[in-house]
């Protein structure tokens, strides 16, 4: 009926004033300290978030109600240079074991105790394979309605 849209990966990078080992450690062991608090997966507020330090490890959130919610898993664990995570959240931040998008994070020595952190979130077309879920998510509190509020807010700040 309509053409299929294949989205390009999301690519972001940032330079931090720290050596790669520390940049890697804050990204992984310290993820709960910087992950946007507004984006918890469970019903309750997030108390902590854990990336288990090994390939095949779990990536999950623990709510203040003690409930653990999966986010994905560790596909590649190569400190301090490379981390690949499976992001298994649908568009409305629900875990879906059948969905695997990849978040690759490279930590590149940029000299002078700084590190360039390059992030690529790819295979986003797989979110479309869960199209039915996407459609259902449109009216959920964390779904498109909320996303549109975010768009409008972010856009108004940019303009």
């Amino acid at each position: 009926m309509s053409q299929r849209i294949t989205p390009a990966p999301v690519r972001k990078s940032v330079v931090v004033r720290a050596p790669a080992a520390r940049a890697f450690e804050v990204f992984t062991a310290g993820i709960a300290r910087w992950w946007p608090k507004s984006h918890h997966i469970g019903a309750s507020e997030a108390q902590s978030q854990v990336i288990e330090p090994r390939s095949g490890g779990r990536w999950f959130e623990r709510g203040i109600d003690g409930v653990e919610c999966e986010i994905g898993k560790v596909l590649t664990w190569q400190p301090p240079t490379l981390l690949v995570l499976a992001w298994q959240l649908t568009a409305d931040f629900k875990y879906d074991a059948a969905l695997v998008t990849e978040v690759e994070v490279r930590f590149i020595d940029a000299g002078g105790s700084t590190t360039r952190v390059e992030l690529e979130h790819r295979h986003l077309e797989r979110l479309g394979d869960r199209g039915e879920l996407l459609r259902q998510s449109i009216d959920s509190p964390n779904g498109w309605g909320a996303l549109l509020e975010l768009y409008a807010h972010a856009a108004s700040q940019q303009l």
Partner: protein
């Protein structure tokens, strides 16, 4: 592929957001969309053109009319959202790295 900036710009306009939101109910023609909004049909057409260029909506011919629908997979919007999510998350991450560095000194 439209980029996230185009999608942000497309949705920043309140009227255009209304047009987009009306399509959440399902496929509609320009006339149907315009009926519920205080704007002219040519204005609605113009908004739809911008939304289409941003890959947020798609259209198809039904007889002599065109009907519009939200990209059924919603990927354009989801990508734009993820783009913003990571932008904000990495900024917070960089602050956290540097906060810790100051404490260590």
């Amino acid at each position: 592929m439209a980029n996230a900036t185009a999608q942000f710009a497309a949705l920043a306009d309140p009227t255009r957001r209304q047009v987009f939101e009306r399509l959440r109910a399902g496929e509609q023609s320009v006339g149907q969309i315009a009926r519920g909004l205080p704007v002219s049909r040519p204005a609605v057409s113009q908004h739809l053109r911008v939304l289409k260029e941003a890959a947020l909506v798609a259209d198809r011919a039904v007889g002599t009319r065109r009907v519009y629908h939200i990209d059924p997979e919603g990927l354009g919007a989801v990508r734009a959202w993820l783009d913003q999510f990571w932008e904000a998350a990495l900024a917070a991450y960089a602050r956290e790295v540097e906060k810790g560095a100051e404490e260590q000194q």
